[in-house]
C-alpha cells in the first residue's frame, strides 16, 4: 500500500517540492495505479519473456568513427551559468 511517506520519498528522489495537498492527492492516485498493476498481475504470464524494448528491433550500432563536436561556444549558449569554459553549478549540498 502506498503511503504518504512513499510519495515524499519518490518526490525527493525526483527533486519535486510537493505541497501537502499534492502529497495526499498523489498518494491516492499512485495507490490507484498500483492497484491496477495488481489487476494486471493476475494474468498468467508463464513462459512469456519480460519485454526489453517496446519495438521489435535489436542491434542498432554505429561504427567507432569520430564526429567533430560542434564546439563549446554553441553548446554552452543555453547554460544558465558558466566560467572559463566550464558549466557552473550551484553549491552541491549533502
Amino acid at each position: 500500500m502506498i503511503t504518504i511517506k512513499d510519495v515524499e520519498h519518490v518526490a525527493k528522489l525526483a527533486r519535486l517540492a510537493l505541497s501537502d495537498e499534492e502529497k495526499s492527492r498523489y498518494t491516492k492516485q499512485l495507490a490507484a495505479i498500483i492497484e491496477h498493476f495488481n489487476e494486471l498481475k493476475a494474468v498468467d504470464t508463464t513462459g512469456v519473456e519480460p519485454l526489453a524494448h517496446a519495438l521489435p528491433i535489436t542491434n542498432v550500432l554505429r561504427e567507432d568513427t569520430l564526429v567533430s563536436p560542434p564546439g563549446r561556444a554553441l553548446l554552452m549558449e543555453n547554460a544558465p551559468e558558466q566560467e572559463n569554459g566550464y558549466f557552473r553549478v550551484p553549491k552541491i549540498g549533502d
Binding site: 520519498h9 525527493k12 528522489l13 527533486r15 519485454l51 526489453a52 524494448h53 517496446a54 519495438l55 528491433i57 535489436t58 542491434n59 542498432v60 550500432l61 554505429r62 561504427e63 567507432d64 568513427t65 569520430l66 564526429v67 567533430s68 563536436p69 560542434p70 564546439g71 563549446r72 553548446l75 554552452m76 566560467e83 572559463n84 569554459g85 566550464y86 558549466f87 557552473r88 553549478v89 550551484p90 553549491k91 552541491i92 549533502d94
Partner: protein, 483 residues
C-alpha cells in the same frame, strides 16, 4: 580472536575506443573543458544515443579473456540519480542482463570468481571552486569531456582473502585487458579505477560481516594499503564491542587511512528500469567466435609455457609475461634459436632496469629480436665480453643498429687472440718487476693488479677467461724460475 578479511573488488576499465559509447565525440584524455562534447553526451532533449559497435566487441573480448560466459541477449538500463557530473540525471548502464557473467581469474592458485562485467558510460568531472574538496566550496564547475566515455565495470565475488591478493588480482586483470588491447590501464589518467568492498569475520564463521566500500585509491599499492588499514580499523571496532556501520569510505593517501564519505540521505535508490532509447543486443555465437579468434595468447598460458618449455623460473616467467610487447619479443627471439635463459636474462635484468630508469615502455625501445640473437651469439663465441655487450645493448635500446656493425665500427670486438694476449701479459709482468717480486714472495693478491693492468692495456676488451689462463701459466713459470 582471529579474524579473516573478505574482499571483493569493482573495477572500472575505460575501453580504448576512439569515440564515446553513444556518440562520435573523441575519448581523448584532457583537452580544454567541454571541448569533447555534443548534444548527445550532454543529454539535451530529443537526442538519441546509438551504441558504439567497438564497445560491444571490446566487452565480448574481455568476457572471453576473463573466462566469462558472454550473454546471447543483453540490454541496457537507466540508473537514476542526481549529481551535476551526470547531465541526463541518469547513467546508462546494465543491470539485470549484463553482457558478461560468471568468469574467474586464478591468482596464485586461488580462484577469484568474477560475478559480472557490464558496459556503462562514464560521468563528467567536477571542479570545486575555492576549496580542495566539495565541502566549503560555494559552487562547482563541470567538465563533461569524460561523460559518455565507455567503461567496463568488472565485479568480483568476495573471494579475495588478503590485501596482497587484491593487488595481484588487479595487476593480473590490468595485464589481461592490456594484452587484449581493450584498455590502456593507465591509473593516473583514471582509465583503470578500483573500489573495494571489505568486511571481516571470525575465522571459521561462514556468515559475512558488515562491509564497507572503499574508494579513492589511485595505485595498486594504495589499494593494498587501504584494504589493510580498513581491515585493522574494523577489527579494532569489533574488539571494542562496537558495530561496523555500512558506509562508503575514502582513502587518504597522506594519512594512510580511510575516512567516511558523507552519506547522501537517500543513497542507493537508483530505480533502474530498461533503457527505452537503446534496443537490446542479440549476440550471435559466430560473432563471439570471430572475436575469440583475434585474441592473443594470454599471460597465464605464456607463463606456463615459459616455465615448462623454456625452463624459466616462475619469477622470470612473470616478468616476461607482464607486458605483451616484451613477451612477443621474447617469443620472436627464441624462435630465432636463441637460448631462452640467456634471452630472458637480457630482457629481465638490464632491459627492465633501463625501462624503469628512462620511464618508457618496452614498445618504445628500438631493439629487434635479431639484435638480441646476435648479442647472445657474440657472447657465446667469445667475441664480446659481458661489460661490452651490456653497453651495446643499452645503446641498441635507444638507437636502432646492427650488432655486428656496432662491434666493428666501435672496435669493440673482444680480443681473444692468444698470441696477442700472451705478449701483453708478458709486457705487463716485465714492466712491473717489483710487484712481480712481491707476488713471488707470497702476496698472491697482486695477481688482481696484473689482471687489471692487462685489461687496461686492452681498453677492457680482453677475453677474461684467456687472460686468466695466461696469467696462471706465466706466474707459475715465474715461480718455478725463482726456485
Amino acid at each position: 580472536m582471529k579474524y579473516e578479511p573478505v574482499i571483493g573488488l569493482e573495477v572500472h576499465a575505460q575501453l580504448k575506443t576512439a569515440t564515446k559509447i553513444f556518440c562520435g565525440c573523441p575519448t581523448t584524455f584532457g583537452g580544454n573543458p567541454n571541448d569533447h562534447v555534443c548534444p548527445v553526451c550532454l543529454g539535451m532533449p530529443g537526442v538519441l544515443p546509438v551504441l558504439n559497435k567497438r564497445v560491444v566487441e571490446f566487452a565480448i573480448k574481455s568476457g572471453i579473456a576473463l573466462n566469462c560466459s558472454v550473454a546471447h541477449f543483453t540490454r541496457f538500463d537507466r540508473k537514476n540519480y542526481f549529481y551535476p557530473d551526470l547531465p541526463k540525471d541518469y547513467q546508462i548502464s546494465q543491470y539485470s542482463q549484463p553482457i558478461c557473467n560468471n568468469g574467474h581469474l586464478v591468482i596464485g592458485g586461488k580462484k577469484i570468481r568474477i560475478l559480472r562485467a557490464h558496459i556503462e558510460e562514464d560521468a563528467g568531472k567536477l571542479v570545486h571552486a575555492g576549496a580542495a574538496g566539495l565541502h566549503g566550496s560555494d559552487y562547482s564547475l563541470v567538465d563533461f569531456n569524460r561523460t559518455g566515455v565507455p567503461l567496463l565495470e568488472i565485479v568480483s565475488e568476495p573471494d579475495i582473502e588478503s590485501p596482497e591478493q587484491a593487488r595481484l588480482y588487479l595487476s593480473e586483470l590490468r595485464t589481461i585487458l592490456r594484452y587484449i588491447d581493450v584498455c590502456d590501464g593507465n591509473l593516473e589518467e583514471g582509465s583503470f579505477r578500483c573500489d573495494a568492498n571489505v568486511s571481516i569475520r571470525p575465522v571459521g564463521q561462514t556468515e559475512l560481516g558488515t562491509k564497507t566500500e572503499i574508494k579513492n585509491m589511485n595505485s595498486f599499492r594504495s589499494v593494498q594499503r587501504a584494504i589493510q588499514s580498513e581491515i585493522e580499523r574494523q577489527i579494532d571496532l569489533v574488539e571494542r564491542g562496537e558495530r561496523i556501520p555500512q558506509e562508503t569510505r575514502l582513502w587518504n593517501e597522506a594519512t594512510q587511512s580511510t575516512y567516511p564519505m558523507r552519506s547522501k540521505e537517500e543513497a542507493h535508490d537508483y530505480r533502474y528500469f530498461p533503457e527505452p532509447d537503446l534496443p537490446p543486443l542479440v549476440i550471435d555465437p559466430a560473432w563471439i567466435k570471430a572475436l575469440e579468434a583475434t585474441l592473443p595468447e594470454l599471460p597465464d598460458s605464456r607463463r606456463r609455457r615459459y616455465m615448462e618449455i623454456c625452463h624459466l623460473s616462475a619469477d622470470d616467467a612473470y616478468v616476461l609475461a607482464e607486458s605483451k610487447e616484451m613477451s612477443d619479443f621474447f617469443d620472436r627471439v627464441i624462435a630465432l634459436d636463441t637460448p631462452a635463459k640467456a634471452a630472458a636474462n637480457w630482457l629481465i635484468g638490464p632491459t627492465q632496469a633501463f625501462l624503469k630508469e628512462s620511464l618508457i615502455d618496452f614498445a618504445q625501445t628500438k631493439v629487434t629480436p635479431e639484435n638480441l640473437r646476435d648479442l647472445v651469439a657474440a657472447m657465446n663465441t667469445g667475441s664480446l665480453n659481458s661489460t661490452t655487450a651490456k653497453q651495446i645493448w643499452l645503446d641498441l635500446l635507444r638507437e636502432p643498429a646492427e650488432v655486428s656493425a656496432v662491434i666493428e665500427q666501435q672496435g669493440l670486438s673482444q680480443v681473444s687472440d692468444e698470441t696477442k694476449l700472451r705478449s701483453i701479459v708478458w709486457q705487463v709482468l716485465s714492466d712491473n718487476q717489483s710487484q712481480l717480486d712481491e707476488y713471488l714472495k707470497g702476496r698472491t693478491k697482486i695477481r688482481q693488479f696484473f689482471f687489471g693492468e692487462t685489461m687496461k692495456a686492452l681498453k677492457g676488451k680482453g677475453n677474461p677467461q684467456i687472460i686468466n689462463c695466461l696469467l696462471d701459466e706465466m706466474l707459475a713459470e715465474a715461480a718455478s724460475a725463482v726456485k
